[in-house]
Symmetry: C2
Subunit: 205 residues, 2 copies
């Protein structure tokens, strides 16, 4: 039951990107892909793949580890930023850029089995939250939003933006701004006469 991996197939193959990145994408598009398929799309033989990662489980965990690593670096890059809109924008940009890896991480409950990975996950999530908290204290984010909802919404927007980019609907350079604006202001009609200048028709509830 080979489901086509469509757009992925030819373009990415045989390029010299980090192996685990390719694996993450394949396994994301086709969670049930066989190791033979994964190897093919990575441009190596199944034997070689097995030599690097003895079992499928080991491979999946390696991808998870790398995804976490990438996330950690993304958060680190904005750790010193003040809690401003610009800081948030940078966090979003960094996370959206790593969209596939993060999505892989978020979508694989099986990774929870790995204790060290779970520890690092919780850790980086907390650091992520710390950034958001700073923005909250700066008055950029609403003070009343619960932590978990803030985080989940952030994840959701990162995921959506990354997916839109992959589908070609969204220009990579537009993504951070769009996501940030949606996160902060939502998609409701701007308040009439408000700061962002949009003289509109009357309020309409």
């Amino acid at each position: 039951m080979t489901v086509h991996l469509g757009a992925l197939s030819r373009s990415r193959r045989a390029t010299k990107r980090p192996l685990l990145d390719v694996v993450a994408e394949v396994l994301l598009a086709q969670p049930g892909a066989s190791l033979a398929e994964v190897a093919e799309f990575a441009g190596i033989s199944r034997t070689t793949l097995h030599k690097h990662y003895a079992t499928r489980d080991e491979l999946v965990r390696a991808v998870g580890q790398r995804a976490t690593e990438i996330w950690e670096q993304a958060v680190d890059r904005v750790a010193d930023e003040p809690g401003t809109k610009a800081g948030l924008r940078q966090l979003l940009a960094a996370m959206i850029e790593s969209g596939p890896q993060l999505t892989f991480l978020w979508r694989n409950p099986a990774l929870d089995e790995d204790n060290e990975l779970t520890r690092r996950y919780i850790d980086v999530e907390n650091r992520c939250l710390a950034v958001l908290d700073r923005a909250r204290k700066e008055g950029v984010l609403a003070a009343t939003t619960p932590d978990w909802w803030l985080l989940q919404t952030l994840y959701a927007l990162v995921y959506t933006a990354a997916e839109s980019i992959q589908f070609g609907k969204l220009a990579p350079l537009d993504a951070p701004d769009l996501a940030l604006s949606t996160l902060l202001n939502g998609l409701g009609a701007p308040a009439t006469g408000a700061g962002s200048g949009k003289p509109d028709k009357g309020e309409s509830e």
Copy 2:
């Protein structure tokens, strides 16, 4: 390689809910679950499961069909609503309620193979969009947001809310309002002082 389905297992088992609903949840938590596992969590024998749906593919497609059906009904229920906040709230409520089914639908690229299902999917998505469009014309939603971003954001919020409910973080009755508020206003700090104006501290970007 049995990964535990944790919270799902005992509580739901053997209850008399529609079979396909249980299947959707199991297959969502554990996409690689064997039919034996699926049957067990549905509280029936594998033989019986096979009698209803001859092959795994057929089962998956049936779940997809049902998910689409549920979505159609949810949209139908608000099709006559005017494009007000209340109307949007109802759409969100209906969709969040069907969270697991919709998530299953959104996450299974394999379902695209089914032409009829794809047709119905596109159709209900368009009707969904029509509801949003009406809200846009009423000035509830920003006029400038592209259709696809609006839809994707809606999906993201529905998914996030449903997941939060499943994790016990969010009370089902609170979900629609939280999602609606996030969709319309985002999570930024509310405008200070005036009703909707924004005489704020220095802009930070």
